[in-house]
Symmetry: C2
Subunit: 412 residues, 2 copies
């Protein structure tokens, strides 16, 4: 089937899903969870097909591991669908409302986006995760996974579509683009009027392709070059715990810290402690850091701009809070920025003046995450400013509609 015809089918299904009860949508998610576990055999068989092809094509070990499904991973996918089903429905929330002097009653109501396009790479679990979130938010999920996971994704989508049918909803509310070509990816991004919103889950190449080609609006899940700033008035025990946690608790994720900035007034007391506590982490410091921590390698300009996503940390000494804020404005990616301080004025200025999706006072940057902040589902973390900024929950997969009720008002 050609892409436009497929998209038209998804769009038609989205209208039915958009007016369905949340009970029906939740049923579909729970049925899908059951079917994923019951039908594990077929999904795992398809996955073996992908794995064999990946090995033939010499895919790297990490990529192969991401591609691999087993009973445990399927059980986790099923549990994810059940957890999303248990969240409250974002659709129908009255965001605000008032009455006009002429008696018009005005409300803004949360409504489904319609068709959400998700472009992702080779983890097949994203297929059920993304579809579950879209359906919960009242939208259809139009999925484009990677070629390497095609058989697995097909098998998972077949399960999801069976669950939709069993729940009395249209199967086309979940559909997969099977054409693996770059041309099909570009065409997908240009289905304006058929797809309402694109959620890309991929690396810099995908982002560049979107910026260049997409005509469908998108929400970008960006990089995190996150800073922890230890202020002159910091509790140094707390600062040590926070930088260790922010850097090492899970270094490969976007909300891990990449740079430590230390106020000069506490640098001499803090840096040696931090070095010791950060045991396995390679530090790269500016000149003032190197003077206080002999043997530390020099940090280049590029180091301060790098999201290492591993056990490397750039370290700088700053002369003031202003310098810290300037450093973050220059090198930060607008993701998550933390200050450790006991000084109310410093905390207030940092939270106000640092331009990022999230500013954190006296806690680890690792909390900047949908689950940790209490959003329930985690759709991603947006570093753009329009529509959604920071951790995205189900609400960010919806939009609003104005509802205006009168009793015959006309405009004079």
């Amino acid at each position: 089937m050609n892409l436009e015809a497929l998209a038209a089918g998804v769009r038609a299904a989205s209208r039915v899903v958009g007016r369905s009860s949340s009970a029906a949508r939740d049923d579909a998610l729970r049925l899908a969870a059951d079917l994923l576990v019951e039908g594990a055999g077929a999904v795992l068989e398809a996955n073996v097909e992908d794995l064999e092809r990946a090995e033939d094509e010499g895919l790297g070990a990490t990529a192969v591991d991401r591609l691999r499904l087993d009973e445990d991973r399927l059980a986790a996918m099923a549990a994810g669908l059940r957890a999303v089903a248990a969240l409250s429905d974002p659709v129908g929330e009255v965001v605000d409302g008032w009455v006009r002097p002429n008696g018009l009653r005005v409300e803004r109501v949360r409504v489904p986006l319609g068709v959400i396009g998700v472009v992702y790479e080779n983890r097949p679990n994203v297929t059920s995760d993304a579809a579950g979130l879209c359906l919960k938010a009242g939208s259809a999920a139009f999925l484009r996974g990677s070629a390497s996971a095609l058989a697995s994704n097909r098998a998972i989508v077949a399960v999801l579509r069976r669950a939709l049918a069993k729940a009395g909803l249209p199967e086309d509310a979940v559909a997969l683009v099977e054409d693996p070509s770059h041309e099909a990816a570009v065409a997908f991004m240009r289905l304006r009027g058929l797809i309402d919103c694109l959620i890309p889950r991929g690396g810099p190449a995908l982002v560049a392709a979107l910026l260049e080609h997409a005509t469908v609006p998108y929400v970008l899940d960006g990089d995190g070059n996150c800073h922890v700033y230890v202020d002159a008035a910091a509790d140094l025990d707390m600062a040590t715990e926070i930088i260790v946690n922010a850097k090492t608790q899970r270094p490969g994720v976007c909300n891990a810290a990449e740079t430590l900035l230390v106020h000069e007034a506490v640098a001499e007391a803090f840096l040696p402690r931090a070095r010791q506590a950060l045991g396995g982490v390679e530090l790269r410091g500016d000149e003032r850091v190197q003077a206080l921590l002999p043997g530390v390698a020099a940090a280049s300009e590029a180091d301060f701009a790098t999201e290492f996503l591993g056990l490397t940390l750039a370290v700088g000494v700053v002369g003031s809070l202003d310098q810290a804020i300037e450093h973050i404005a220059r090198y930060g990616s607008g993701h998550s920025e933390a200050i450790v301080t006991t000084d109310v004025a410093a905390a207030d200025r940092f939270t106000r003046e640092v331009d990022a999706a999230a500013v954190v006072v006296n806690a680890s940057t690792r909390f900047v995450d949908g689950g940790e902040l209490g959003l329930g589902a985690e759709v991603g973390i947006s570093t753009q400013k329009l529509h959604a900024r920071g951790p995205m929950g189900l609400r960010e997969l919806t939009c609003t509609k104005w509802v205006v009720r009168g009793d015959g008002q006309v405009r004079r």
Copy 2:
């Protein structure tokens, strides 16, 4: 000065404006209003220059009228700036917040976007209107008007910059791109990282250029192919008043009605009355309309898809509420859609199932407007779903930031 250097200056200024008090920003707006009136001579002189060039170049009369400034229009621009200054500041609003089980206090706070790029056509009043709204919302205004209004825009921007300086704010918080070339327009749309949001105010050519070239996120102010549906259970007096108002009160605007749909049960009673009440309006009807209203021209498929922006109205008879909803889904542009009915169930289904920025029950579509709905300032009416949908006020010129406060929490 080259475009990137200019943009970097605006960006630096935006950070100062973003942390300025609303008192300082309101002062700047009021000072600009005073200076526009006091310095009217220089602005009008510049405007004469534009008008003379426009006449030499043979610009049409409507375009010349849009370009023309006089004392009254300057006074209206000044009044606009004062009205915006008097609105409450959207920046700093705590959108929501809660406390997590681990004691983290989480808030989402409304913050300025940073640099707002406004691309507009030849009305020079947009220069002060747009700059006023951006400054009020805590952002810098980076303006690109049309070549035909260059001298006028320069003079107005000079006034705005003097007012900023007098209020102690950086002049670069308002800047004008003076290069009139298409290349400069495209480069402007691609200043990602320097401009945070684009607000286009222009026609289909501008929208097409944005879709093709922009890498900066934008909020589109789209067309309005708006419908009024007269239900089987409509009060026909009310329906008559509403369609007359929606079609004729100001036919050239996006929230005017372009199609009237009538339920077959009331078509015979309603259509002749509507025709009479719609005196000067040219009706184009489907076959069932033509049967009831002899002499009415046939409506083509294209007529139902057209935003006439004038005294022409497409008219159709539908067999049911479902058919009306289907018709709107097929031909509507997602702007404003109205139903006239006394039937609660019909009103509820229409408001829920019609996918548009605004759905209106028993009132004119003409109320779908920032001022009429109570937003104070009118930035435009978005027909996109992400970030802002429907009438946009000052809030839609801001974004949010997560502020997370702890007392040493780290993630386990």
